[in-house]
């Protein structure tokens, strides 16, 4: 009985549970606004306009869990979208061009990663710089005009449906969430990311290739910006240099609201996915309630602040002191313990012992 109670309490105390409750609450609010909200087609289509935001949030989650931040992700998407579009306009096959776009995005992410991890620079300032630089690059490459005639076969990836109701983009986002969730939660690399986020020094001393993992994390963030760009072009059917401008707030909100510790070291892909649903639902609901985009931003911004403050309060209530200072001061005992075990296990793994 006691065990059941403990499990129930732990389940209730989980951030993801709160998110599900919030999603249901926002759903009830939405149904009062429009009777069409609960129709299957509408529910399935809810996420479609926000898929590119979700993909960027997945990438950013890796960076934030590793104790860093990448605010250049939105202009990285714009730059890759524009490269992709220019290549396509120049006659390159659309899929090949999309693939090159992914490559460009990864390279731009790697540039951030190299500056941050090899030169040990602060990710906040660096990605603030590249936020402007990549955006400028996007404008320069596109030189003002947009490209807007993509083949129908391609556009399906962002705006197509299977059986008229199931959006292909939804399948894309679920598939990528599953893959990234596995990478984050079930691989050695994922454990390294958590460990570095909770305590970089300790990670270094335990033999984790810290520089390499941090670089990879930024590359993942870049790659996801590339995927976001691919879906963005498919959905909107056009490539513009200001693609994704203004979506930084939503991306960061999805990550933080998803329970990813802004100080690094904790978070889950499921949480980010649920937060994406909540953000999409709220935006959709506010649209139904005739609330304008910039006014919606007030609500989303407030939600972002509330999520962090709620997290801080939760920690304070749980007995831990509220942490102070900038990013990367976090310590999560549970995660650390798990991570240490993972390190020991990996050290003892036969393929690692062979080399010694």
């Amino acid at each position: 009985m006691k065990a059941a109670q403990a499990i129930a309490v732990r389940l209730l105390a989980r951030w993801e549970t709160l998110l599900v409750v919030a999603i249901v609450g926002a759903g009830i609010w939405s149904t009062t606004l429009s009777p069409f909200f609960l129709q299957r087609a509408n529910l399935l289509d809810l996420l479609t306009p926000y898929i590119f935001i979700g993909l960027m949030a997945f990438g950013l989650a890796f960076v934030v869990i590793a104790g860093e931040i990448d605010i250049s992700i939105v202009s990285n998407m714009a730059a890759s979208v524009v490269c992709f579009a220019q290549l396509y306009a120049a006659g390159v096959n659309v899929w090949l061009a999309a693939l090159i776009g992914l490559g460009v995005a990864t390279v731009l992410g790697l540039v951030n990663g190299a500056l941050v991890s090899l030169l040990e620079l602060p990710s906040l300032a660096i990605t603030l710089g590249t936020l402007a630089a990549y955006s400028g690059l996007a404008y320069v490459i596109l030189s003002g005009e947009g490209v807007a005639s993509f083949p129908a076969g391609y556009s399906k990836i962002g705006g197509g449906y299977i059986g008229k109701e199931l959006p292909i983009a939804l399948l894309v986002v679920i598939a990528l969430a599953l893959v990234l969730g596995l990478v984050l939660h079930a691989t050695r690399f994922g454990r390294y990311v958590f460990t570095i986020g909770s305590n970089r020094e300790a990670a270094r001393f335990s033999g984790i290739p810290v520089a390499r993992v941090r670089m990879t994390v930024f590359a993942v963030s870049g790659l996801m910006a590339g995927f976001a760009g691919v879906v963005y072009v498919g959905y909107f059917g056009s490539a513009r240099a200001d693609a994704g401008t203004g979506s930084l707030l939503d991306v960061v909100t999805a990550v933080v609201l998803g329970g990813v510790d802004i100080f690094g070291g904790a978070g889950s892909m499921l949480g980010v996915f649920l937060a994406l649903i909540l953000v999409a639902e709220l935006r959709n609901g506010m649209q139904l309630a005739n609330i304008q985009g910039d006014t919606q931003d007030i609500v989303i911004g407030g939600l972002l602040l509330a999520a962090i403050i709620a997290g801080n309060l939760l920690r304070a209530v749980q007995g831990g002191r509220i942490r102070v200072g900038p990013l990367r001061l976090a310590r999560r005992e549970v995660v650390e313990h798990e991570a240490t075990e993972a390190i020991i296990a990996s050290k003892l793994a036969p393929e690692n012992l062979k080399g010694r």
Binding site: A125, G129, Y134, G136, D294, G325
Partner: protein, 348 residues
């Protein structure tokens, strides 16, 4: 102890680096001016320099406030929205009460900015939200409020009284009024961070927040003050903005925060906090404005401007970090040598 070690303290070494930094910006500025003078017709004319001075003025006013925040190892992204909001409110006040005295409206703008900055400060210092996230959120929230208030409309120059517009167009002693204001703000800011005890605390907090706390510095209160002042100066910036660009709508000063942060970072204010001077910030702003002006005269695409801004931030941060690291290593070596020398003396 060898004579070469005598008299070199960490302070003098750091000061030397800062002077070197300001010298470096001056050098870059000189190079830029020389280049544009040769390449661009009209660059080296009084009229063009007055234009540059007008452009740089608001960046400096807001940059002084941003510097106070960055010194404490924080950042204020919301200044662009505060400038936009207060610019609209200032213009709207004049549009409704054309007889309103300038200082009163300026004070209102400053007060509104102060309140918005205070909110940032409370979020960071009391609610413990990281500055980048807190001000990213308020950047969106303040802009949203701006859109609410403007309701999609705008205010044009025709609705504003002449004496307000003259603020930007008059040039006492050949220098635009805006530039005089900016110089005043920069001088007061420089004097404050040089001599006011509370602002020395900002450096201490930025250098080492934990140590500052243990030294009895009221860290929270100082951080709140820095954000509030940043907001207040952004409010003043908004007031000046409305007189410089009198057609004000909801997108006024969108993205302006990047110009300000670029100037601050290029000006040598360390993003790790704890070091930087107002002279450096003013020079940094001037360098950015000069290069952008030269780009315009040479008809280089507007879009390169954005790229240049970002690139400059990355380069400045990289150089700063590398220099700081070298400096710290040198200091550590020196300390070790001094310690060893003292041990030898004691042994002998």
């Amino acid at each position: 102890m060898s004579p070469s070690l005598r008299g070199i303290t960490p302070q003098t070494l750091a000061a030397a680096v800062l002077r070197l930094r300001e010298f470096g910006i001056l050098l870059a500025l000189g190079a830029a001016v020389a280049f544009f003078t040769i390449r661009a017709p009209n660059f080296d004319s009084v009229g063009n320099w007055q234009g540059i001075a007008q452009n740089v003025a608001i960046v400096i006013v807001v940059g002084v406030g941003e510097t106070l925040v960055v010194l404490t190892r924080n950042i204020d992204l919301s200044v662009g929205s505060i400038v936009g909001l207060t610019a609209y409110l200032s213009a709207a006040t004049f549009a409704h009460y054309s007889g309103a005295p300038l200082p009163v409206v300026a004070l209102i703008a400053v007060a509104i900015g102060l309140c918005l900055g205070l909110a940032n400060g409370l979020l960071v210092a009391v609610a413990k939200v990281p500055a980048i996230i807190a001000t990213l959120a308020t950047l969106a929230i303040y802009r949203g409020i701006d859109v609410q208030i403007t309701g999609g409309g705008n205010i044009t120059a025709y609705e504003l009284p002449d004496r307000f517009l003259k603020l930007a167009s008059t040039k006492p002693a050949g220098v635009p009024t805006l530039a005089w204001v900016a110089a005043g703000v920069a001088v007061v800011g420089a004097a404050a961070v040089r001599w006011a005890p509370w602002s020395r605390d900002l450096y201490a907090i930025g250098s080492n927040p934990e140590a500052a706390r243990f030294a009895g510095i009221p860290v929270g209160r100082r951080v709140i003050t820095a954000f509030a002042l940043s907001g207040a100066l952004a409010g003043l910036g908004g007031f000046l903005w409305a007189s410089r660009f009198p057609t004000v709508d909801a997108v006024a000063a969108k993205g302006f925060e990047l110009d300000v942060i670029t100037a601050v970072v290029i000006g040598g204010v360390n993003v790790f906090g704890g070091s930087g001077t107002m002279l450096g910030v003013a020079l940094g702003a001037l360098l950015v404005a000069t290069i952008q002006n030269g780009f315009t005269l040479l008809r280089i695409s507007e879009f390169w401007r954005l790229f240049f801004n970002g690139f400059a931030i990355v380069v400045a941060v990289t150089i700063d970090a590398l220099v700081t690291r070298r400096l710290q290593e040198a200091l550590r070596r020196r300390r070790a040598e001094a310690l060893a020398a003292r041990h030898l003396e004691a042994g002998a």
